[in-house]
């Protein structure tokens, strides 16, 4: 599947609109997006094959030496001078606000012309084949236990083409990703839902991993049906990769989004160079930091992907920025400018966020705990970059007694407390490493983007409720 033919045809239109708007603004960029998502799903009683949440449109970003202006539209064909006038009129601030603009430095526009492509195997599968796989796996799950009330299997590929044009820069990128899910509704001692998710840039891997995990998801459902609430308290805890990633994401992912620095909304702004975590802690974010769902080649501001080390040996060393925040802070943007879609503003956002692996063996970590829990599977989390509180919810936990995992499951488990206390309590880091590319992240309660989180197992001491 090649780069969008439609966007390819728009290169000249973009350049012409940049030139027309360049008469009014010091800096003009246009991001064109053509994203195709497909949703294939089957459960016991219904199925679907349809387009998912895709997009196709343009966002123009302008800077006049003071503030920023953006205009989102569907079509840039036609008379460019007229379109430029329309855009100019639309983004012009009311005269009452003209004296209240920020004054940000000029935006750099380094020359570069490059086309980036990452191939996938999506063309090798038809809708019919993928739906057939979902239906077969659904039947297989259903047959494993008569207490399964319903089984749902979904495969969701999406293909991204983006074009970025300024006066000096013309970049294009084309890449793909897919997620797969198993879910069973189980009517045991109580009704529960058990899930398993996969993410990869090739469907062959996703299909194989879904097939390999049908027993696990049914086994999990059986255990969750017997799970009890956890006795609230402070415990020694081992996290699986997904919970480690959730901690990274909520603790110092949102906490170092540098548009929050501009607004004095992040305590981290004043803590650069300070210990914020145990000295065995190292944390990264970046579209180029690992290969997962947020591994693009350039961000929505046309800045090339980075690998940013946020925490080095427990010390906070760097943050994540978009073009507007970096311009205001006088720093270099880190390739973290991302949009929910072309219809929304670019903010500083996470990409693939994770802790580096350590040297400990998982079995030694479990053996070191007299009484505690191992936590599994992210449900949700909430950030508080200003006041460094954290809330992470795990789907379930397994009790550890005398250094051994028991058969006692607890669900759900809400982990909360102070970020520095939590990160400074990291006493062991496993040599295992996994990044899970199946998440969505909002800023506040909006602006959803696809993110990956992960890392090794961590041993921490934290409040569970």
């Amino acid at each position: 599947m090649p780069f969008s033919a439609y966007l390819n045809q728009q290169r000249e239109n973009c350049a012409a609109l940049v030139e027309a708007l360049g008469k009014h603004f010091q800096y003009v960029s246009i991001l064109g997006t053509d994203v195709h998502a497909t949703m294939i799903r089957a459960d016991r009683r219904s199925s679907a094959v349809q387009d998912g949440a895709g997009e196709c449109g343009f966002v123009v970003k302008m800077h006049d030496g003071k503030a920023f202006y953006e205009y989102s539209l569907d079509d840039i064909s036609g008379d460019k001078a007229a379109l430029a006038e329309k855009i100019l009129a639309a983004v012009q601030a009311d005269p009452a606000l003209e004296g209240r603009m920020i004054s940000a430095a000029a935006v750099a526009d380094e020359p570069m012309v490059k086309d980036f492509v990452r191939e996938s195997d999506f063309d090798q599968y038809t809708d019919e084949q993928l739906l057939g796989i979902c239906q077969e796996l659904g039947k297989e799950l259903q047959a494993k236990d008569e207490k399964i009330l319903n089984a749902m299997v979904a495969i969701q590929p999406y293909v991204v083409s983006k074009l970025f044009v300024t006066k000096n820069r013309q970049l294009s990128q084309h890449y793909s990703w897919a997620n797969g899910y198993l879910m069973v509704v189980y009517g045991g001692e109580k009704m529960v839902q058990a899930r398993h998710g996969e993410g990869a840039d090739n469907l062959a891997g996703i299909i194989a991993n879904l097939k390999n995990n049908t027993d696990e998801v049914v086994d999990l459902a059986r255990h969750l049906a017997k799970a009890t609430p956890i006795e609230p308290g402070v415990y020694d805890v081992i996290t699986d990769s997904s919970i480690s990633g959730l901690i990274a994401h909520e603790a110092f992912g949102h906490g170092v989004e540098m548009d929050q620095f501009v607004k004095d909304r992040a305590l981290a702004k004043n803590c650069m160079g300070e210990y914020v975590a145990s000295p065995i802690t190292n944390m990264h974010d970046g579209a180029a930091a690992t290969h997962s769902v947020a591994s693009y080649f350039f961000d929505d501001d046309g800045v090339l992907a980075h690998d940013t080390q946020i925490i080095k040996d427990g010390i906070l060393v760097a943050g994540l920025s978009d073009l507007a925040s970096a311009t205001q802070l006088g720093t270099d943007p880190t390739g973290n400018g991302r949009r929910d879609s072309y219809k929304r503003k670019a903010y500083s956002r996470m990409t693939n966020t994770f802790f580096e692996p350590g040297k400990d063996k998982l079995e030694d970590m479990i053996a070191s705990i007299k009484h505690g829990y191992m936590l599994f599977e992210t449900n949700n989390g909430m950030e508080d970059p200003k006041n460094w509180q954290i809330q992470c919810t795990a789907e379930y936990g397994i009790e550890i007694v005398d250094g051994k995992l028991t058969d006692h499951y607890v669900s759900p488990v809400v982990m909360s407390g102070s970020v520095p206390e939590l990160l400074k309590s990291i006493s062991m880091v496993s040599d295992q490493f996994k990044v899970i590319g199946a998440g969505m992240c909002g800023k506040g309660y909006k602006e959803w983007v696809r993110v990956a989180d992960g890392g090794p197992n961590l041993k921490v001491r934290v409040k569970l409720g």
Partner: protein
Amino acid sequence: MMTVKNLLEKNQHVNGWRITEKATLSYELFFVHQSLETVRATDTVSTSVTVYVDHDGAKGDSTFAVYQSMTEADIAAKIEAAVARAKLVSNQPYDLPEAGEVTAELPTNMKDCDMKELGVKIADAVFAADTLPGGSINACEIFLYRDTVRVLNSRGVDKTQVTHRAMIEAIPTFTTEKESVELYEDYRFTQFDAAKITAEIAEKMQEVKARSEAVKPAVPMTVNVILRPLEISELISELAWDLNYASVYSHANLHHQGDDLQKDGTGDKLTLTLKAVVEGSEKSACFDDDGLALTDTCLIENGVVKNYFGASRFGQYLNVEKPSGSLRCAQVAPGTLPMADMKRQPCLDIVSMSGLQLDLYNDYIGGEIRLAYYFDGEKTVPVTGITMSAKLSEALSSMNLSTETGVSGEYDGPQRMLLKDIAVL
């Protein structure tokens, strides 16, 4: 839209179709402190087409997006592809909603306002509350939208509704020599009232000042907890979502008609009605995504599940005579306890949470509390750094609702909910 309609009507393999078009005009202002960082405007249209194909005694459907950039040939090809996909899908047959024409404008006082002028008025109303010594509004985003949604289908539905809505995201902050703290404000409305906006933000400014003074209380403790509209609304949404036709059809619902959610209850009985229109709510609508007229539906009466709700298709599967449509607003009947009376006994009056955590299946309600007022029977102090945790069924059985009601987001109902004997750590 008419090109798409003509192409659908020409295609002999298409047995039914639906076109949903949403045109959005927006004007957006992004402030850093009180300075304007970014001005945005959008003029976009989203068009979604669903194709229905009857085959082998079943009905298949497939949905695709139509972009402005597509040619007639592109759209015709997408229709053909959707027909092929729909033939892969074998769902139990159902009918599309029948003919009906509606053109509606949902209640608002913003429709004749110039968006740029209104943006300034809203900004001025927000920053008018930025007067507290030590306080500041570190960020403010203002969004003004005009949405026009039109739904057409092959059975003669042609319905249009226009919504004018606004959203303010503001970050009230309070700074002392020791620390700086903030709260998050997400305020949505369809009726502009400058004084109400200023009062709302001013209240948050007082609350963030309280957060700067908040201490961690002695824990663990068991105490009555008071929830505010945001959290009540989340709880109500969770209870309602469990009762939608699709969940029932797929055997994923926990509660069933006739179930008593407040068995042996000692508090106020819950009566929950889903509504098409709640004045002031941006979620108000006359019809749903299928173009089905929305019908107000009582889901829970005096604690007992009475009805389910949802889209036409799944309603037909459950043999519901008149499906309600996908209702989005909720109304809860007032309770028996005035707000002032809730605070006569020791209690934790929660102002802000990281996010209410709810799990119906595991019978759980809880979450981290960012700010609450703790009344120990003698004095009230602001508290923070604590977490609540309880069995949802027990909390519901003994809960009380306030006599005072109001609208908040898609929720219209009691402004406070009292949950008794909750564990706080």
